[in-house]
């Protein structure tokens, strides 16, 4: 069975908890290595490494750990908003507290935002990999180029550039209801945006653009 490492580098662990919920389904097809089960072992090779949480730039231990995970895994997935697009940790300040999405430190294969991604996401993702394809897989691959995505980017890159057609994908996707349609045009309630990136990843215009 393919092996999967699930590791949180310093996030809220909501992503791990959400993966744990799918454990009964996952264990049928995969060997899961995860600290919540007590079998975390970083000294072996993995077919998949699902890494959540941002990487602390002041902790050389975490940076080294991440690099080691990269070396030991065939496919490295940045899972959840913090790992993939930085999330709220982009706002962290102070000398002993600097974070970045993991793509800034190592090469990643897929980037899946979401705060946290619902349990089913991991299963469908692995299914897509098994079936080798699908456009959404390409999308998650293309997202690895981005280290920051949020409602702000949606407004700047899609709405203000005049590409928005007003389909409503972003408003329906936002977990904090930070996006509202004003006269058919999305507008961001800035104080509600937690930079999870779901809105822009769902935007048909943005995805059409980055996949071409």
């Amino acid at each position: 069975m393919p092996s999967i490492l699930v590791l949180d580098l310093g996030g809220c662990e909501g992503c791990i908890a959400s993966i744990m919920n799918s454990y009964p389904k996952l264990e049928k097809k995969y060997d899961l290595y995860i600290s919540y089960l007590g079998n975390l072992n970083l000294d072996r090779e993995f077919d998949f490494a699902i890494v959540s949480g941002p990487v602390s730039l002041v902790s050389s231990e975490k940076i080294d750990l991440l690099k080691k995970v990269r070396e030991n895994s065939k496919i490295l997935v940045a899972y959840g908003s913090c790992a993939s697009v930085g999330g709220i940790f982009l706002y962290s300040k102070g000398q002993n507290c600097r974070f970045a999405s993991i793509g800034k430190v190592v090469d990643i294969d897929y980037s899946i935002p979401g705060c946290p991604p619902a349990s089913r996401t991991i299963i469908n993702f692995l299914n897509c990999i098994e079936k080798k394809g699908g456009r959404f897989l390409e999308l998650f691959k293309a997202l690895t180029k981005y280290q920051k995505l949020s409602g702000f980017d949606l407004i700047d890159d899609v709405v203000l550039t005049g590409l928005c057609v007003g389909c409503g994908a972003c408003t329906l996707s936002c977990p904090t209801e930070a996006l509202q349609l004003v006269d058919g045009v999305p507008d961001l309630i800035v104080e509600k945006c937690i930079r999870c990136g779901t809105c822009i990843v769902r935007c048909p215009k943005f995805t059409q653009n980055i996949l071409r």
């Binding site: 949180d8 580098l9 310093g10 996030g11 809220c12 662990e13 909501g14 992503c15 791990i16 908890a17 959400s18 744990m20 919920n21 454990y23 009964p24 600290s35 919540y36 089960l37 007590g38 079998n39 975390l40 602390s56 002041v58 902790s59 231990e61 975490k62 999330g87 709220i88 940790f89 706002y91 962290s92 300040k93 102070g94 002993n96 507290c97 974070f99 705060c115 946290p116 349990s119 977990p175 904090t176 209801e177 800035v190 104080e191 509600k192 945006c193 937690i194």
Partner: protein, 394 residues
């Protein structure tokens, strides 16, 4: 105490099956632990700085993301502190809904702890089965959180002034029905679980450990039943004068009236439910009992909701002010303190987390424990490192 005596053996455990990561350092003599240090290399995450200068609404959503296990607790505590600073109060419906969300979250958290603790005290042959049935109840609880809070992790309906919405009649009756079923299912599960326990359970039952307790309420949290000023924060390195020479993230501990106090399920039940179990197993038993009480309380509260009445005080007062809240998070007393500046933005934020109280308790509880059982002690207190690393004295 001089810990470097020659006959002391040093054991370092990289603990798994806890939220976050723990480096548990023990000095042992023959087969017992003499002294333990609860350290972590989890990166410090400085949530006070993340919200500084921000709009309170952002602060609420950001602070909820301190922890993916006790998200609602942080959301509620943060909302209450900000309301206190603004001088607004939520309507009854909002207050009830918050308590419901807090309790659903408490069940989620306790069950997730159980998932992790199963290998400790469940017979090996029955572990897989117990894990599956625990996850089953957990997933059903998640779906109730999704219906009530908007999302099973980081429930987005918690907001300043109350909650954004309450379910309509149809949904509500469905949820009440679900909670009723879940309560019965859990009662069955608990009976079964008791028959699956192993020798660790027998051992923990024999170890008496009863520190001072600190609880503010059985369900919600009450800032008037404890005195927040008496909580003293102290740097971990100042608390111990005999720190071992290892690397760890400098974090902060909390004391009450200069004492090490236990907070969480056992403390709550001891102070408000006449619960009396002095053994270390009492911690886990209290947690199992709390799940049952929570389901019951959620059921009662859902029936108290007045449909058609408001659930949110929709006034935001952007002015300077100070606010404090005390909430009974799954792991115990959670305090959020906020200072708003003249334009109503966050000037200063302090978070006192349950694990700050629990770390010295864990260290104390591990003393004189047989080494082969020592790993279980920190875990039975359910420390949460993502929370613990969210704030520190600077």
């Amino acid at each position: 105490m001089m810990i470097m005596e020659l006959d002391l053996k040093k054991i370092t455990l990289d603990l798994q099956r806890v939220c976050g990561e723990v480096k548990f350092l023990m000095y042992c003599k023959s087969n017992k632990v003499e002294k333990a240090f609860f350290l972590t290399n989890y990166p410090f995450r400085g949530f006070d700085n993340i919200v500084k200068g921000k709009n309170p609404i952002f602060a609420l959503y950001a602070l909820m993301r301190i922890c993916g296990i006790c998200h609602a607790a942080h959301g509620i505590a943060s909302a209450e502190a900000i309301e206190d600073a603004m001088g607004i109060t939520p309507p009854m419906n909002g207050r009830y809904m918050r308590e419901i969300l807090g309790l659903v979250n408490r069940v989620q958290s306790h069950l997730m702890h159980l998932v992790m603790a199963i290998p400790d005290f469940v017979e090996e042959s029955k572990q897989a089965y117990v894990l599956k049935s625990t996850l089953d109840i957990l997933n059903e609880t998640h779906s109730i959180m999704t219906k009530l809070g908007g999302s099973s992790t980081h429930p987005s309906y918690i907001t300043i002034g109350g909650v954004e919405k309450i379910p309509n009649e149809k949904i509500l009756s469905k949820i009440i029905e679900n909670i009723g079923n879940l309560r019965d299912k859990y009662a069955e599960y608990r009976k079964e679980l008791i028959n699956c326990l192993n020798e660790t359970y027998d051992y923990l039952r024999t170890i008496k450990f009863k520190p001072k307790f600190l609880g503010s309420d059985l369900f919600y949290g009450d800032k008037y039943s404890i005195s927040v000023d008496k909580i003293k924060l102290i740097k971990y390195s100042d608390f111990h004068d005999d720190l071992p020479d290892v690397e760890f993230t400098p974090l902060t501990l909390a004391l009450y009236e200069d004492n090490v106090v236990e907070t969480g399920p056992r403390a709550r039940l001891a102070e408000y439910y006449e619960y009396n179990n002095d053994s270390l197993w009492g911690l886990q038993e209290a947690r199992l009992l709390e799940i049952e009480l929570s389901y019951k309380r959620i059921y009662e509260l859902l029936e108290k909701l007045e449909l058609g009445e408001p659930c949110q005080t929709k006034i935001m007062i952007y002015r300077s002010g100070k606010g404090v809240s005390v909430f009974e998070a799954p792991r115990g007393i959670l305090v959020h303190k906020v200072v708003l500046n003249e334009s109503g933005r966050i000037e200063n934020y302090t978070i006192i987390l349950p694990t700050m109280f629990l770390v010295p308790v864990i260290e104390k509880a591990t003393q004189n424990i047989e080494v082969r059982f020592a790993e279980v002690i920190p875990r039975i207190y359910d420390p949460c490192i993502p929370c613990y690393s969210a704030y520190t004295l600077r």
